[in-house]
């Protein structure tokens, strides 16, 4: 492989980590409630705009981050309360339409509040490339990678090592039985939507300095995140990272060698392939049940 190919793959892979993070947001709520927020991309976008506003108000970068994350959590909780809870209680699939509608509403709100233009997102992290083994990477890109991996490791540790995290899985396995143990399914699902919102906000804050912020960033991001989530399966956090890295590099190679108009193609082709060949995803577990 020559230098250019590796360079393209590395830059693409970093973008792929952002897709992975958004896809991880799907997994978090799927784990507790078998529902996902189809407006996750809009949540990323709204959190990014909110964070931009905080920055423009003069808040320093490192204080803006918690503010933006808090916005994400509140927005995630709002989605759960307004769009998901009632549908789940009635065992209906109404959450699909409701979360899509909330997402569309979010786009309109963003266009009205912040306008339709893409805006630059200032960051104090340097953007001059550094050389590693003849590959150039910017500190900004490194910060994205570190941010994504860190939040995922923290949440995975929470899920595996704390009792509340295990309760997540209990609610997912058998909601009624979990209730009998004194675990409130409603609260667990709320918490998962809050976490999912937090993850979306972090994705927005991390990616915006690279891509700029605009009302249309949502749809581009969510489509790829969705491909990643479906290809990897909705259970494995490790899986979305691997598939995200792969899709990111593939996309960057495609857009360079085939043409930038084909940039969206690999994600969609992978999505179709996965649905046709292995709908549970590469890392999805086949359900083992013994009675």
């Amino acid at each position: 492989m020559n230098q250019a190919v590796i360079q393209l793959m590395v830059s693409g892979a970093l973008m792929g980590l952002v897709y992975a993070l958004v896809a991880y947001g799907f997994q978090l709520t799927y784990a507790t409630s078998k529902s996902i927020n189809f407006g996750q991309g809009e949540l990323v976008m709204l959190s990014a705009f909110f964070s931009l506003t905080l920055t423009n108000l003069g808040l320093p970068y490192y204080l803006m981050i918690p503010g933006g994350l808090l916005f994400g959590v509140v927005a995630g909780l709002f989605v759960e309360r307004a769009g998901v809870r009632l549908a789940l209680e009635q065992k209906s699939e109404g959450w699909i339409l409701m979360t899509i509608i909330l997402g569309l509403f979010g786009v309109s709100a963003a266009e009205n509040i912040w306008g339709r233009d893409d805006r630059p997102f200032p960051t104090p992290i340097p953007t001059e490339p550094m050389q590693f083994f003849d590959i150039s990477i910017t500190p900004l890109e490194i910060s994205v990678a570190i941010g994504v991996v860190m939040i995922m490791v923290i949440i995975e540790l929470f899920k595996r090592k704390t009792l509340l995290g295990k309760a997540f899985e209990a609610v997912s396995a058998d909601r009624d039985a979990a209730e009998l143990m004194g675990i409130s399914a409603t609260r667990t699902i709320m918490l998962s939507y809050g976490l999912s919102g937090l993850v979306a906000a972090l994705a927005g804050i991390l990616v915006s300095p690279i891509t700029t912020v605009g009302p249309t960033m949502a749809s581009a991001l969510v489509l790829k995140a969705f491909s990643v989530a479906v290809v990897a399966g909705l259970e494995s956090g490790f899986g979305v990272v691997i598939v995200g890295l792969f899709l990111g590099s593939l996309e960057s190679l495609t857009s360079f060698y085939v043409g930038s108009g084909w940039r969206e193609a690999p994600g969609l082709v992978l999505l179709i392939l996965a649905l046709a060949v292995r709908p549970t995803g590469i890392f999805g577990k086949a359900v083992i049940r013994k009675v």
Binding site: A173, A177, A178, E179
Partner: protein, 239 residues
């Protein structure tokens, strides 16, 4: 400890319970027997909050609990080992047990240490679970899953345990094992409401028993009387 008064409940339009009343005194094992569809499991599910009663009253340790969420009732000291066992299949045996004590343990750190004593007690009662503590509970045999469901209920140190159809789908040898466990728990002073298809076995272990028919208690009494009651013999004990 547990009192049910004139309970009416059902699913949608169909009433299943029509004025059920029963009582479980502290430190006793009470059996609820009767034919399929009499409303035994519905009674259990209504007590633990899975179904909202349309009328009537449920008192747990003197406090009314009807209409509360199952998780709230569990926090008040009721543990329900449901029909069909309902273990958390993807989780390990030990995680299942730890979640049984969810209401008493810290939710983030240090819960293993705090639960160690209770785990030891459960493992002493069920040595098989100790052998398999790291195994995914969905891969256990039916009997082992039943042991786990009972162990998980006990982890909460509940005031009252509801145990629904522990013998369902199990081989006779395993059923014997399950009833041995129930006898040992009785010896240690457990307060237990037991629903059981196998009336003969339930009457052997119970201090008191209710026979349920079409949503009501038809006959009640101490097992020695019921075992002589001709109606009960004809319907459930047979020869």
């Amino acid at each position: 400890m547990l009192v049910v008064n004139d309970l009416y409940a059902g699913y949608g339009m169909s009433e299943v319970l029509m004025g059920t009343s029963l009582a479980v005194k502290r430190g006793t094992v009470v059996a609820l027997i009767g034919p399929n569809g009499a409303g035994k499991t519905t009674t259990m599910r209504t007590i633990s909050g899975g179904i909202n009663p349309t009328r009537g009253e449920i008192l747990l340790d003197g406090k009314p609990v009807q209409g509360l969420e199952p998780s709230q009732i569990a926090r008040l000291g009721l543990a329900h080992a449901p029909e069909g066992r309902k273990v958390f299949g993807p989780l390990s045996v030990e995680d299942n047990l730890l979640l049984g004590a969810f209401t008493r343990l810290p939710h983030f750190f240090g819960f293993q240490a705090k639960a160690a004593g209770d785990l030891d007690k459960i493992y002493e009662l069920f040595p098989r679970l100790k052998e398999r503590r790291r195994q995914t509970s969905g891969t256990l045999s039916g009997g082992e899953q039943q042991m786990l469901a009972i162990g998980r209920a006990l982890m909460a140190r509940p005031k009252v345990v509801l145990l629904d159809e522990p013998s369902m789908g199990l081989a006779p040898v395993i059923v014997d094992e399950v009833f041995d466990i129930i006898r040992r728990l009785k010896g240690s002073g457990i307060t237990l409401l037991l629903v059981e298809q196998s009336a003969k076995r339930a009457l052997e272990v119970a201090d008191y028993a209710y026979v349920m028919e079409r949503g009501r208690i038809a006959v009640e009494g101490v097992p020695q009387e019921l075992q002589k009651n001709e109606r009960v013999i004809a319907a459930y004990l047979g020869n």
